[in-house]
Amino acid sequence: MERKTKIDAREGKQDLLITREFDLPLELLFKAFIEPEIVEQWMGTKVLKLESKKHGSYRFETTDPKGNIHGFTGVIHELVPNRKLTRTFEMENTPFGVQLEIYDFERAEGTSKLNIHTIFESVTLRDELLKLPFAQGINFAHNRLQDVASKLK
């Protein structure tokens, strides 16, 4: 399958850019970021609060397979319907710091495009966060190996 989502993370920079084109009208794409029930579905998270307006705040929660709860919070700095969403993002109780996220929505011929520009507190924090899914993948594989190994004993 074609890779639709692109990540641009230059070495030594403290930001990254996620770009993606959608086979959706711009209005529907934008809606998916401001309606709590829709965010819940595609983010796979509980939306406890989402005030989609300038200076509004939000709070999401997910529960991992071990039953631990992870909180995600932030404040909306700017919201221009169908054009732009600027907000902060923070994973609670993690060392990743606060990220500034700028969502830029673009209209195309019957389709739409989204650019997410994320700015981190430092280059190190950006790299650590980028590695997270990679590290988790390795950890899962590692744990599975340990499970198998322990059964062999």
């Binding site: 989502t5 959608f22 829709i38 796979g44 590695k131 990679f134 590290a135």
Partner: protein
């Protein structure tokens, strides 16, 4: 917290990156590698141990000498470390697209 050696921890150190660059062109013994650095020999040995533990280097016994090889396959894995992050976003946004394609306004 276990002391699992990870590849990123390994290449975060400038001396270890320099060792990888050296060994990438030819297999070398620990002594030959150490002679390229001003650092104390035990320090270089420690770096070699870390690089070996995370499989960026492989050891091969040749007579009485141990040669260090560069494991290019592992390095490729490092180059691809952004891929799981991209995949995570791709899956998430695919889901968004699918949901919105079936979206029916309420009322």
């Amino acid at each position: 917290m276990n002391l699992r050696r990870d590849v990123f921890q390994a290449i975060a150190d400038p001396t270890r990156r320099a060792i990888l660059v050296l060994v990438a062109t030819q297999s070398m013994t620990a002594g030959a590698i150490a002679s390229n650095f001003d650092t104390a020999r035990p320090t270089v040995s420690k770096h070699l141990q870390i690089l070996t533990e995370c499989e960026l280097l492989e050891q091969e016994q040749n007579g009485r000498e141990i040669y260090y090889h560069f494991n290019a396959k592992k390095m490729k894995e490092v180059a691809d470390f952004v891929e799981p992050f991209r995949k995570m976003w791709d899956e998430r946004l695919n889901k968004l697209e699918a949901i919105m394609k079936n979206y029916k306004p309420k009322k």
